[in-house]
Amino acid sequence: MATLSKNDVLKLAQLARLHLSEAEVKNFQGEINEILGYVEKLQAVDVNGLEPTVQVTGLKNVMRDDVVRTYQALPEALLKGAPQREDSSLKVKRVL
């Protein structure tokens, strides 16, 4: 059974772009290990010959014509939700 160390938790947080407080690291380590322990029962299941279920609709490749359409929201309305913008672009902090 996999057990997460404190370093594993910190690495996961980094992957998920989260900064965790000392207390969060400690709590998450215990809680996630408990949850991983609970889901461990799946390892014993015989899954031979089964295909993974990705979705349950039975739909396949829902296609549409590749054309520009006007939907409910115009670009201007969509941009309004962004914290910072310049003209028709999202503005972000410097990369480096």
Binding site: L4, A13, R17, H19, I35, V39, L42, V56, L59, V95
Partner: protein
């Protein structure tokens, strides 16, 4: 007002001039005010709702009475994008967010003349079973303010029971409509996956997210669902089953009902078992054939769910990066910091916990052992349901092993909280329709019965549920 009449009779009164859309909206607003202590509502769309009601009343005066929900006020869970106010998903991340477009479901209800009067509280981003994970406030159970309303659609269920509107909308990823409906004493309907477009609803776990109504009766649920259902080009997983859900034909005689053995045993509150058993007895007396059935894979459903769902959550919530939607940490000096600080401050503890689990089960080296294995086990669960539905028309079980628990009782133990979903996640993984119907009570707290049907059998399920609802009346 003691309680709202059926939607059908409200609409009839509005059309005949017996009441008006404005009067109904004002009644809803008054009841929302009266129930403020329950903290079921995040925001009230007062101005927009009154404005819409005036327009509808004017149309009626001019002789245009089209609309199956004409003038009927409703409340949407605050993860539905709607005009007329903010859409927050009860999260600090989206606090203040004005939706640039509306959910298809809301557009379709409005097209039938319904009026959104308010937005209901939820566990932030719908992550939870008690509404305690809201970043803003904890909704109280209408029957006992020291207890939770269930979740994540706790505000919606409480609002219906508190008569704050005629009906409410919820979302159900693993039980989030059915559990609060059971805890609060309302009808909660989770349709077949894909039956209603998810466009404009804040995504949680895309492979099990469905949206549905919380109402006072099965007829109301069927009508609201019928108005929302059907293919939508904005959600490519939506399906058109081309069946009207509005005209139910209640029938119990000759139906075969499977009682799920695994959910009537140890660990289930005695009163919950009593209420379900009593209902099963009534069904039998009314001419239904009762069978005890076993779904051995259901024991795996919760474990399967708590891998697949966090995985999809970690992916869906990656869009909240401080650059595109609402909250952005002002102290960040570069882009990387802005991602990290915005997410760390904008997400509450449960969102972070699920993102962490999801990131883990999807990470290189663990993907096969966790995520892929859960998808394989999911296939087993889906097949087991499908096979059993060849020998029974419906399955019944409790909605949850217990009644509404105390506020704070499970907040320190996430795994214990997750166990509240143990009886509801199976239907979510299988994509089948399921309903929570009020069936009894224990010490003043409501107990619901869950009825499930095969994929696509929404009309059959609602018809059957209506017959069950009529038992003993």
């Amino acid at each position: 007002m003691d309680s709202w009449e059926s939607i059908e009779s409200l609409v009839a009164s509005v059309k005949s001039g017996g009441t008006s859309a404005q009067a109904l909206v004002l009644q809803a607003l008054e009841n929302i005010d009266k129930g403020a202590e329950f903290e079921a509502i995040i925001s009230v769309h007062k101005t927009a709702a009154i404005e819409r009601a005036k327009i509808i009343d004017k149309k009626i005066q001019d002789g245009d009475t089209a609309g199956r929900l004409l003038g009927v006020p409703f409340i949407a869970k605050d993860n539905y994008l709607s005009f007329g106010g903010e859409t927050t998903a009860a999260s600090n991340m989206l606090k203040g967010f004005k939706a640039p477009y509306q959910a298809t479901a809301i557009n379709r209800l409005e097209a039938e003349g319904a009026i959104c009067v308010a937005k209901a509280n939820l566990d932030a981003f719908a992550h939870g079973s008690s509404t305690e994970n809201s970043d803003f406030m904890v909704t109280k159970n209408p029957h006992d303010t020291s207890r939770v309303p269930g979740g994540s659609s706790g505000g919606s269920a409480a609002a219906v029971v508190l008569n704050m509107a005629s009906f409410a909308l919820g979302t159900d990823t693993g039980g989030s409509i059915r559990l609060p409906a059971s805890f609060c004493g309302a009808v909660g309907y989770k349709p077949t996956y894909g039956r209603v477009s998810r466009s404009g609803v804040v995504a949680m776990a895309s492979s099990t997210d469905v949206i549905g109504p919380i109402t006072r009766s099965v007829d109301d649920a069927a009508l609201v669902l019928d108005c929302m259902a059907g293919k939508d080009e904005l959600d490519s997983t939506s399906i058109d089953l081309d069946v009207s859900l509005a005209n139910l034909k209640p029938e119990l005689k000759g139906k075969t009902v499977g009682v799920i053995k695994e959910f009537m045993g140890e660990g289930v509150h005695e009163d919950v078992k009593r209420v379900v058993n009593d209902k099963v007895q009534e069904l039998s007396a009314a001419g239904a054939t009762i069978k005890e059935i076993s779904l051995p894979s259901l024991d795996l459903a919760l474990a399967c769910y708590y891998i697949i769902v966090p995985a999809e959550i970690s992916s869906n919530l990656s869009r909240y990066d401080g650059q595109r939607y609402q909250y952005s940490d002002p102290t960040a000096t570069n882009l990387q910091d802005s991602y990290v600080l915005s997410r760390s401050k904008g997400f509450g503890v449960e969102a972070k916990r699920r993102i962490m689990i999801g990131t883990y089960v999807l990470s290189s080296g663990y993907y096969d052992a966790y995520y892929k294995r859960a998808q394989l086990v999911r296939t087993k669960i889906v097949r087991e349901f499908a096979e059993l539905f060849s020998s029974v028309d419906f399955m019944v079980s409790p909605v949850a092993p217990f009644t509404a628990f105390k506020i704070g009782e499970n907040t320190d133990d996430p795994l214990q909280m997750y166990l509240a979903d143990v009886m509801t996640v199976g239907a979510s993984l299988a994509g089948i329709p399921a309903i929570s119907l009020p069936a009894g009570e224990s010490q003043g707290l409501p107990i619901g019965i869950q009825i499930m049907a095969s994929q696509g059998s929404d009309l059959e399920l609602l018809s059957f549920a209506k017959a069950v609802e009529g038992l003993g009346k």
